[in-house]
Symmetry: C2
């Protein structure tokens, strides 16, 4: 994280947003978005996922998007993968950071990526092994992602001990960092604060930990604030809250990047992001949406009178 940044905002729209909507963005539209948002100061963007193109045609061009994104100065290029095959492709693509996702719920993991948790952990071991083999300097960051850490639509509440156990397993297997996700918008801020307090107590304060929230029940930014209060300094979000209707059963839109940046900057936390430029990126992104809905309040309410972004403060 740069010296001038207090919180790392990790844009996941070109992956989590685009995989949840009908419109398929052409490669060039994705790259225009990514380049524009990077130029606005967003330090890390999840540009796609390495999955079977017949399952997610929106992500079929991920290798090419990664290749061109790697040319953008100062941008950390991140991708998501569900399994060993995807991770191998991601490592070969040269992406800077690879999020390997598995669920805390056995049933959700089976349903989502057709693996038991044991199989996913064995995959993760092989992914680290593969990374260490082809990338002996271990420059490619492998992030252990725990989906449904706050509950899911199949198993209901997620026991905190299950999250802790799985986090410990991932770190033992060599994860460079962790990502804790409220995949389907079940979390409340009390739960978020308590879970991250317990996580830091369990794994210590030295492991970088990111948080990923959806706004299904209107608590996305409250949850983000609770995570910040617990000490989290990396947050996923999506420009325009892309990801379709926030009321769909199951997964729905991520927290809105521009609203998150406003919350952080108005609260004195530097993101390094220029809000005006970010809003221009939003317009550029919306241009390709074919009228599909976006979310967000900052776009309409604007900044309060006298607002000074922390990143612009003297």
């Amino acid at each position: 994280m740069g010296d001038n940044i207090d919180v790392l905002v990790h844009e996941v729209g070109p992956r989590d947003g685009l995989q949840s909507i009908k419109t398929i963005f052409p490669t060039q539209a994705k790259l225009d978005w990514i380049k524009s948002e990077a130029a606005a100061g967003v330090p890390q963007i999840q540009v796609g996922s390495f999955v079977r193109p017949d399952l997610l045609p929106q992500m079929a061009d991920t290798a090419e998007v990664v290749r061109q994104s790697l040319e953008i100065p100062d941008l950390t290029v991140a991708v998501l993968v569900p399994n060993l095959k995807g991770a191998q492709n991601a490592i070969l693509s040269g992406a800077h950071q690879i999020g390997v996702v598995m669920s805390v719920s056995q049933a959700h993991n089976k349903s989502n990526i057709n693996r038991t948790i044991a199989e996913s952990l064995e995959d993760f071991r092989k992914i680290i092994e593969y990374r260490n083999q082809v990338d002996p300097e271990r420059k490619t960051v492998i992030s252990g992602g725990l989906a449904t850490s706050f509950g899911c639509t199949i198993s209901g509440p997620a026991p905190v001990r299950d999250v802790m156990w799985q986090a410990e397993q991932l770190l033992k297997l060599g994860a460079d960092r962790l990502s804790i996700a409220d995949t389907v918008g079940f979390a409340n801020p009390r739960q978020v604060k308590d879970l991250f307090d317990e996580l830091y107590r369990t794994i210590g304060k030295d492991v970088p930990v990111g948080a990923h929230f959806h706004d299904t029940r209107g608590l996305g930014l409250a949850n983000a604030f609770a995570a910040l209060e617990a000490g989290v300094r990396e947050l996923d979000s999506c420009l325009g809250g892309l990801g379709g209707c926030p009321y769909a059963p199951g997964a729905s839109g991520n927290i809105v990047t521009e609203d998150l940046v406003f919350m952080l900057e108005s609260g004195g936390m530097k993101t390094g992001i220029d809000l005006d430029a970010l809003m221009e990126t939003r317009e550029l992104m919306i241009h390709h949406l074919n009228g599909e809905p976006t979310q967000g309040t900052f776009v309409t309410a604007g900044p309060p009178l006298g607002f000074v972004a922390a990143s612009n403060a003297a």
Copy 2:
């Protein structure tokens, strides 16, 4: 506050909601709403305001609404007043709690109620004097309300020292409690946590303090959580987030009662409110709205699988 309640939810819809929309609710419609919401377990409702009826015709029947609301068992009947005259009428009406509102910003106070802050404080002194005279047992609770405590559309940011000074003045003059309001939705959760921390440091922990948030920039529930983290245990909210478009310049919809109750109950804080019954009240209220918009996410997303309200937990 009852033994079985951790947080007091103070419904302000029949005042703050109804004064901000076009539809004028008939007296009976207000009372149906109030009775239904009280039956759902909401312990305190702001049923109206004593203001000049030519300025706010929606509130012209407040004395009658108070009279009938006082017959509802276990309900704390609250009203809002802008000045001495209103407070006198409110005290005579028998309302249990009277919120006397003034702004932290001199310019906003002049614009809103045509008084300097000094004049409003002198009003407040006379209000306490009047209460003590006609109600020697001081059963009528007088709440000192600080509008625009987080900034306003005329003066911009509100200096924390101004809020502290005014809070101290109100307590010296005899306020039984305080209400700190983000009248126009300027607050961010860091600011909220810091302001309430400073307030409790300044006035001590023994004075009851309520918080009032608007959701103009999507941070309403994040601000509510920040206030809870600082120790606030009384929160204003409005069923259906009534108050029109959240993006109007200036004041906009309050935080949504049902979303707030969900946040509290899912986080283990008892409100004594039955969410199912509350949603029925919402339907009843909407019936009178003539299609004016409401807000809220709980109404569409529903509770997450396995949700147990704290108030219903064993």
